[in-house]
């Protein structure tokens, strides 16, 4: 089972963050007969968020990837309820080459500069998350 373990200096303060890469999904490339080397890959800081039903990326990132939406969904935020957000099909690569070929992510305005992605329960449902607080580490297995 592919897995990654991250040790964060202050896990309680910073949360379970991890550097990931996102790019166009494997189905997108395969069905459009496109070469993966032609796709832009973005490195992001992501937080594992067990409170999020779905995975979110910061607004503007999909445009940088050059991909179009495959859906939209309503989302509640503190400032406005039920705003419509676009959804995109991407591939997510975690450290240690833990790779998810096809994920539907929602683009939304994320506050702050240090987090550009929330990994939600749509991704976590496929794996095992171990949060070892006393060791300032967490492990994610798929």
């Amino acid at each position: 089972m592919p897995s990654l373990t991250q040790r964060i200096p202050d896990l309680q303060q910073l949360g379970p963050i991890v550097e990931i890469e996102i790019t166009a999904s494997i189905p997108y490339a395969r069905n459009n007969k496109l070469n993966f080397l032609a796709f832009k890959t973005l490195k992001l800081i992501a937080m594992i968020d067990t409170g999020a039903t779905g995975t979110v990326i910061k607004k503007g990132l999909a445009e940088q990837l050059g991909i179009n939406p495959v859906g939209s969904i309503l989302m509640n935020t503190p400032t406005s309820e039920s705003i419509s957000c676009l959804q995109y099909n991407v591939q997510i690569t975690f450290p240690s080459n833990v790779n998810i070929e096809s994920v539907i992510v929602t683009e939304a305005p994320l506050q702050g500069q240090h987090i550009q992605c929330l990994i939600g329960r749509d991704v976590l449902q496929h794996g095992v998350l171990i949060y070892t607080g006393y060791d300032n580490s967490f492990t994610l297995c798929f």
Partner: protein
């Protein structure tokens, strides 16, 4: 973007719940291009039909689907 498709989906939802509950629907404009058991099949059909253009996929459920956060302090 995709507002036309979302409004069309909402309009058709009562009938779709009766005929295709739980399946994934593929919509472009105001036209339904198919319903699929798996989301991967809906995506594949969308890419084959519309290439890199935008299209709309949504699971057919009898309630409005929303993205929720237990801690939404990081959302503007």
């Amino acid at each position: 973007m995709l507002e036309l498709e979302m409004n069309f989906f909402e309009k058709k939802l009562p009938d779709l719940v009766k005929s295709d509950l739980g399946k994934y629907i593929l919509i472009k404009g105001e036209e339904i291009f198919g319903t699929y058991v798996a989301i991967d099949d809906a995506l594949q059909a969308g890419y084959q039909k519309f290439k890199t253009d935008a299209f709309f996929i949504r699971q057919i459920l009898p309630f409005q689907q929303k993205l929720d956060f237990a801690n939404n302090y990081h959302l503007v």
